[in-house]
Amino acid sequence: MIAALIYVVSLVVLIQFFVYYCRSALASSRKVALSARVRDAAGVGGDSVAADDFERFLELVRLCPENSADRAGIRAVGTYYSLLHVLARLSQTTVPSVAAWAERERQGCSHFAAVALDRRISFSRDLFVQQASSRP
């Protein structure tokens, strides 16, 4: 009985912690403006990125050399994005306000991925410069 209670409480708390962890990661990246090179690389025209751009940014991120520092954040936000995608689809017709909130959060995920791409491009350039300077 106690184990069942602990299991249920832990599961509920885990979901809460996970959602807020992702939201705090999104909140810290929301303040970062996208650079021109990311806009050029991803073909972003306007000031903000679209909710559906997440996958495209993620593919570009995967093309860059791995940086272990951002791996956890990208994976966690990727999972959060997938959950939001399901939630948006389910609530589209039944609860439009929830669908609208999920859409805003998905847009935040896309912005997070764009910021991650920007960091990876900088990291790749630094690596390239280091390699070029170490050559005899």
């Binding site: 409480v9 885990l14 962890y21 705090s24 929301r30 272990s68 951002d70 956890a72 966690a76």
Partner: protein, 233 residues
């Protein structure tokens, strides 16, 4: 017999624990979050000792089983010190450090007394079930403490981004592990299932998330929740 996945998890654990300490040093946070560095060092030492124990007795031996779970329980107690330090940072502005120290000391003494009583009562049969139950209880206490801290932080006007992410990552670790232990305690049939991988993977989550916090998250406080931030924009 250890497989390649076990070795990969072990090596990844060592590398990531070192990465946390290096990233803290790099961002000048080593002194401020010293308990995290101590926890990483303890985890590193425990993993080395577990490896030696596995070589000496074998991974399927009772000795290794008990050593693994009791060292894990001790490591959870070390994690409580991390929680205490996070409490101190969260309430530093309110001048409540003295009360937190007192409360933490009381909590520690109560945990020690409770553990002593439980071990004394079960000393004749320190079985597999008892070890799993002890781990489950310790992780659940950690979950509750982290949840209270997070709830209190949500009431604060100023929420440092680092502190917020450190607390949330710790909460994910505690709750995921407590849930896994509880599930194993519910049905002994699940003890040998794929659930045995959850704890080592959750163990990797903590250093990965903390390294990410120190390296990729700006230290600036998150003054408002993202919901309010959207309104402000």
């Amino acid at each position: 017999m250890l497989g390649p996945v076990d070795y990969a998890l072990w090596v990844a654990g060592f590398v990531l624990e070192a990465a946390v300490v290096v990233s803290m040093f790099y961002r000048g946070a080593l002194a401020r979050y010293f308990s995290i560095a101590v926890d990483m060092a303890c985890t590193f030492a425990a993993q080395c000792a577990q490896y030696v124990c596995s070589l000496k007795f074998g991974v399927s031996s009772r000795q290794y089983f008990h050593f693994y779970y009791y060292s894990d329980a001790l490591r959870t107690v070390v994690l409580f010190f991390v929680v205490i330090q996070l409490y101190q940072h969260a309430f530093a502005a309110m001048g409540a450090s003295r009360y937190i120290r007192g409360g933490a000391f009381l909590l520690l003494v109560l945990t020690m007394i409770l553990s002593y009583i439980v071990v004394r009562q079960h000393k004749a049969h320190l079985t597999e079930g008892f070890v799993v139950e002890l781990g489950q209880d310790l992780y659940f206490v950690g979950t509750v403490l982290t949840y209270i801290l997070w709830g209190a932080m949500m009431k604060l006007r100023e929420r440092p981004a680092w502190l917020m992410q450190l607390v949330l990552a710790l909460g994910i670790y505690f709750s995921a592990t407590a849930g896994t232990y509880a599930l194993r305690d519910l049905s002994p049939a699940w003890r040998g299932s794929s659930l045995i991988w959850v704890s080592p993977i959750a163990g990797l989550w903590l250093p990965v998330a903390w390294t990410y916090t120190f390296l990729a998250t700006p230290e600036k406080p998150l003054f408002v929740t993202s919901r309010i931030a959207v309104k402000a924009q």
